[in-house]
Amino acid sequence: MNRIDNLFQNKKQDILSIYFPAGYPNLNDTVPNLELLQTAGVDMVEIGIPFSDPLADGSAIQAAAKQSLDNGMKLRLLFEQLKDARQTVSMPLILMGYWNTIYRYGVDQFLKDCKKIGIDGLIIPDLPLEEFEAHYKSDFEEYGIYNVLLACPETDEVRFQKLITATQGFLYLVSSSATTGGSVKLDEEHKAYFNRIKKIETPSLIGFGINNKESFNYACQYANGAIVGTAFIKALKKNKAKDFIKKIK
């Protein structure tokens, strides 16, 4: 069974998923960071594949991606680093990246390498669902890799329903229409949006702008949990990763 399904079956609430870019802050930090997060009791991790023009990301993640690229991080190297990660890391692992990196690597080879390492799912914010379904869905299925889809407040009802059924593992709910790194808005308009997800069967996590205990708890009222990226990266940079997780959990 896919580890993501396993997670959502065993835990319905307060799921904490952490995002950090591969090779950050130092090139060889990827696996140590994973081990640290597992020890700290994090439920799932998204590893960012750095790309220089990430349309969905705010300045903090862009800067981190840049640093990771400057450190020499590349997809090939990331797979190399993760080769033995499954010996120590058992939580579900997701890779998040932009389509051109994967397309250029070769989709089939990419999926094959993901499977070999034990990657459970992918988040590719700029790969449209239609493109995925027309050309790549069967390949993903063949390797048992989940394609996690994103919805946002502007997503209309028809599209929302389509995303609920098409997503695999869980639905990633973007808290606001901006890029990563803002702070989640706790206003009425967002309540209406978040309330939509309360009613759905598909597991869901809220991401973008979850930066402290308060916003984490708020998100958990509506979804099965939340994803923290920018705030964690800032903690990583200050060498305060462990404290940060302790505080938010």
């Binding site: 969905a56 300045s59 397309y103 690597y105």
Partner: protein, 406 residues
């Protein structure tokens, strides 16, 4: 392939030109792109919109711009070289053609603010002009390197009331300016609209910008025919993103015997990575800034560094429609380096009394080559912009021809 019903079929509904184009964007942008697409179809085809745009073209932009025969240039190099004078379009380049269209659409959609990137500053100036005309706010993102190089255009934007946001990451040129503009747009897609500067970006931009630029080709075809009683043998235009080239190519696609030449910047040489932006010549298919196209990239899919003396041409991607026209071999793409560009810049200035933009000087340089090789043929060049913005930079960097020879 026939080009008979071309404009109805390309792009298709998902925004594809063959395998290029499409819409590779996060869902946060998806809804807004759908809205712009719907608005484009419902509003821009309305009688009201078309009449208003036509009136603007005539009374504000000063269209039609003339087609001009280059007497002395043709005499010196052979061939018959004609220019479509987009340098005489209001604000000094073809860019105003799509900016007035995009801004008019923004007004109908109730947007308050126009956001865009700019390389040479021509698109920024054109958009700032359109914003002033319609009473909209305007925010232009521009790389620091280009800000230093294109000082007059920065001043023009500011005088026109636009905010110029300096972009400080990466190479600090056009690609980074696009990143920055997208970010700003994502912060408030409801009240703002991203008016992209060329036939690039996610659907519907490549289509919209082409449609608004088609006026160039439609006019030029009539004018040329009226002047000469025939059609030209060759069309030449420079290609950055490809808007001015699509504008003029579009009117001649269905004339199989007319050769379409796009000219890319070879910068300091196409054999050196990072020293050129010859995307169609040397690129491979990839996805950048929300669309699929030929792209200069490294093995891992990172956009390659690019360079050209012309700030409006140094982009690692290119319009999806050009990518398709290349594969179909309907258009040919060539390259001209910095030195050839600078020579052409002075040639046109001194032989015809027309100072071209450095971008357009690439097209002139190629037209000169073509004329030398085919002295019996006619060549219609899209002179996409005037060179006032480049004067200081050219003279400071290269000196005057007589100084260089000395």
């Amino acid at each position: 392939m026939t080009f008979k019903d071309y404009f109805k079929k390309y792009p298709n509904e998902e925004g594809y030109f063959g395998e290029y184009g499409g819409s590779f964007i996060p869902p946060t942008l998806e809804e807004e792109m759908k809205r712009i697409n719907e608005a484009y179809y419902s509003i821009s085809k309305s009688h009201e919109f078309i009449s208003e745009l036509r009136s603007i073209r005539k009374h504000f932009q000063g269209r039609p711009t003339p087609v001009y025969y280059c007497n002395r240039l043709s005499e010196k190099y052979g061939g018959r070289i004609y220019l479509k004078r987009e340098d005489l379009n209001h604000s000094g380049a073809h860019k105003l053609n799509h900016c007035m269209g995009e801004a008019l659409l923004a007004k109908y959609m109730g947007k308050k603010k126009l956001i865009a990137e700019t390389g040479a500053g021509q698109h920024g100036v054109a958009l700032a002009t359109a914003a002033a005309y319609f009473g909209l706010e305007c925010e232009i993102h521009m790389g620091e390197v280009d800000i230093a190089k294109e000082h007059p255009n920065v001043m023009r934007m500011k005088i026109l009331g636009a905010t110029v946001v300096p972009v400080t990451h990466g190479l600090k040129t056009l690609k980074e300016a696009v990143d920055s503009a997208f970010q700003a747009y994502l912060k408030d897609p409801i009240n703002t609209i991203y008016c992209i500067g060329s036939v690039v970006g996610p659907h519907p931009f490549p289509m919209m910008v082409r449609e608004f630029q088609r006026v160039v080709g439609i006019e030029a075809r009539d004018q040329y025919q009226e002047m000469t009683g025939e059609l030209p043998d060759n069309i030449v235009a420079c290609v950055g993103g490809g808007s001015n080239a699509m504008g003029i190519f579009s009117a001649f696609l269905d004339d199989k015997d007319i050769k379409l030449h796009g000219v890319e910047p070879a910068g300091r040489g196409i054999d050196k990575e990072g020293e050129h932006a010859a995307t169609l010549t040397l690129g491979s298919p990839g996805v950048i800034h929300g669309f699929k196209c030929y792209m200069l990239q490294d093995k891992t899919g990172e956009p390659a560094p690019v360079y050209s003396v012309a700030s409006g041409l140094d982009y690692p991607g290119v319009g999806p429609e050009h990518s398709m026209l290349k594969d179909l071999e309907r258009a040919e793409y060539h390259h001209i380096d910095d030195n050839e560009c600078i020579d052409a810049f002075f040639e046109l200035s001194r032989l015809e009394g027309i100072i071209p933009a450095l971008e357009s000087a690439h097209a002139i340089a190629y037209a000169i080559k073509l004329a030398k090789a085919n002295p019996k043929q006619s060549i219609l060049v899209n002179l996409s912009g005037r060179g006032d913005k480049d004067l200081d930079f050219v003279v400071d960097t290269y000196g005057l021809p007589e100084d260089r020879e000395a």
